[in-house]
Amino acid sequence: MKKGLLKLVAFSVLVVTLASCAKAPQVEIDAANAAIEAAKTAGADRYVPESFNAASEALKSAVTAVEEQNSKFALFRNYDAAKTTLASVNTLASKAVEETTAKKAALKAEVTQALADIAATITANKELLTKAPKGKEGKAAVEAIGQEIAAVETISTEVTAGLTNNEDILTLSGKIKPAVEKAKAINTELTDVIAKAKGGKKK
């Protein structure tokens, strides 16, 4: 009876000891890695680099925290802090994906608006070009401006095609913005020249 009780106690101690050896959160690590990879695939590293870096740095901290526990004697391991950090990696990565989606949508709206603006400005510029004075350097200058308008128009066509083909919106945005500025500058130049010519005629 006494012997049996002793064996039971020894067995219980062994079971408790073995059971208390915490396991590394490999599933959580894999999930966090996958979340970072998904954020990268979504383009978060380019569109929202700060948020993406925060998530990546959190993953590094979490992996270090896991190894810190792995370095300890089995009975003293505790992965709770690492698990919390790994959970935050998922949150941060999801946030980065959401921000990327929002930024892409905002950029798409901006590019769409820019294309509408540029189309209107190009039409106006072509109209103004017919009214531009041809004197002095006029005709050559008008021809040169015509080429500038043509270049702006080609950029606009390229960006429109890019938008239809779902090309990288950040690149498209970088392409269209200077073209819009150029179209506006041409418009101002032509408007001024025409206004000056009209003023000159009145005199």
Binding site: E50, N53, S56, E57, K60, S61, V63, T64, E67, E68, N70, S71, F73, K134, G135, K136, E137, G138, K139, A140, A141, V142, E143, A144, Q147, E148, A150, A151, V152, T154, I155, G174, K175, K177, P178, A179, E181, K182
Partner: protein
């Protein structure tokens, strides 16, 4: 008092267990410690380097730092898989310290590289803008292909895209766009340079003609008219001093000398006004006829015909005038020099028959013109 064998066995096991526990505790207490602090330091520096875009501006250092970091982590994992008293983190420490050093280097290099790229970009864009500004007046008059002009405009737009990227801090993209723009502009540049270089082979002759004409104006106390084709300007000299400058227009193929009738080129050489025609006397408002072709033109024309450069049927042409109805902003005449009516009125009133008229490609050298 003798102990029973069971009790003796119990005591022996107890002693052995105690020894085992003590040895185990000693091993636990003296086991090698992982370089946790070093890992955290490295992570901080790597994060800083990433935020400074070291992966873009110092990729070789940054990639090396990341690789070393991953190697250190891998080595740490390997050691952790061993029995605790066999673990040795010295290699891990060595690797993480190297990773930290590389991360620091990448951080420092990133700043230096970004700044030097920034400076280089600013210098190049400044030079290019200066060149384009200088170029503009000449470029718009040159008889170039539409596709070449369009390419040139695309080049200018690429530069604008680069400036846009530069203002948003993306120096790498700005440099990329600058280089794209440079390539497009250089295509036009090459063609223009080839055209002008060949044209400017006659520069010393032009200089001689212009100097002689101005000297003549000074010696004879008379008016003289010097025409600069590249600048599209006509300079009226009186008594050797510049009196007035006029905007002038030429034939479509104004680059180069006139070779034959109908080539739409304006002749180059030293001429004089031989006849003045008032309003109604010329097709183009008022006009002053010059003595093209002169003896030199005849000699050159005949020589080219003999050499077979010109066909036997070609004629030398003539009736080259300085006339009105210009100011169109284009080179539209059949080889004459056109001024606006108000300007021909003024020139006509001053210029006598016999006034020297010298037509040159340029009064400035090619390097002066392009730089």
């Amino acid at each position: 008092m003798k102990l029973g064998w069971k009790k003796r066995l119990f005591v022996v096991i107890g002693i052995l267990f105690s020894v085992f526990v003590i040895v185990y505790m000693v091993l636990i207490l003296t086991m090698d410690k992982p370089p946790l602090k070093e890992f955290k330091v490295c992570q901080t520096i790597l994060g800083k380097a990433k935020r400074a875009n070291a992966d873009v501006y110092a990729p070789e250092y940054y990639t090396a730092a990341e690789r070393k970091y991953q190697s250190a982590l891998f080595e740490w994992k390997i050691q952790n898989e061993k029995v605790f008293f066999l673990r040795n983190y010295s290699r891990t420490k060595e690797l993480i310290l190297t990773a930290t050093l590389k991360a620091e280097e990448s951080n420092a290099s990133s700043g230096v590289n970004k700044n030097s790229l920034k400076m280089k970009y600013l210098q190049e864009i400044e030079l290019l803008k200066h060149k384009l500004d200088n170029y503009h007046d000449i470029f718009i008059h040159l008889p170039l292909k539409v596709s070449l002009r369009k390419n040139y405009e695309f080049g200018k737009l690429s530069l604008e895209q680069g400036l846009n990227a530069f203002s948003s801090g993306d120096i790498m993209l700005a440099t990329k766009r600058l280089n794209e723009g440079k390539i497009r502009i250089s295509i036009a540049d090459k063609e223009v340079n080839e055209l002008l270089k060949e044209y400017f082979n006659n520069f010393s002759r032009w200089q001689g003609w212009a100097s002689a004409t101005i000297r003549l104006s000074a010696q004879n106390n008379c008016y003289a008219f010097v025409v600069d084709k590249i600048k599209h300007k006509g300079y009226l000299y009186n008594k050797g001093k510049l009196n007035k400058e006029y905007d002038v227009e030429f034939g479509r193929n104004w680059i180069g000398d006139k070779h034959y009738a109908g080539d739409k080129a304006t002749p180059e050489g030293m001429y004089k006004v031989i006849k003045k025609m008032g309003n109604g006397g010329s097709k183009y408002y008022k006009a002053m006829l010059i003595n093209y072709p002169n003896d030199e033109d005849y000699a050159s024309f005949n020589s080219k015909k003999r050499q077979g450069v010109l066909s036997k049927n070609s004629r030398i042409g003539g009736l080259i005038e300085i006339h009105g109805e210009g100011g169109k902003g284009a080179d539209w005449t059949s080889g004459c020099i056109a001024l606006s009516n108000s300007e021909i009125d003024e020139l006509f009133s001053r210029a006598p028959v016999g006034m020297p008229v010298t037509i040159v490609g340029s009064l400035m050298s090619l390097s002066e013109l392009l730089n």
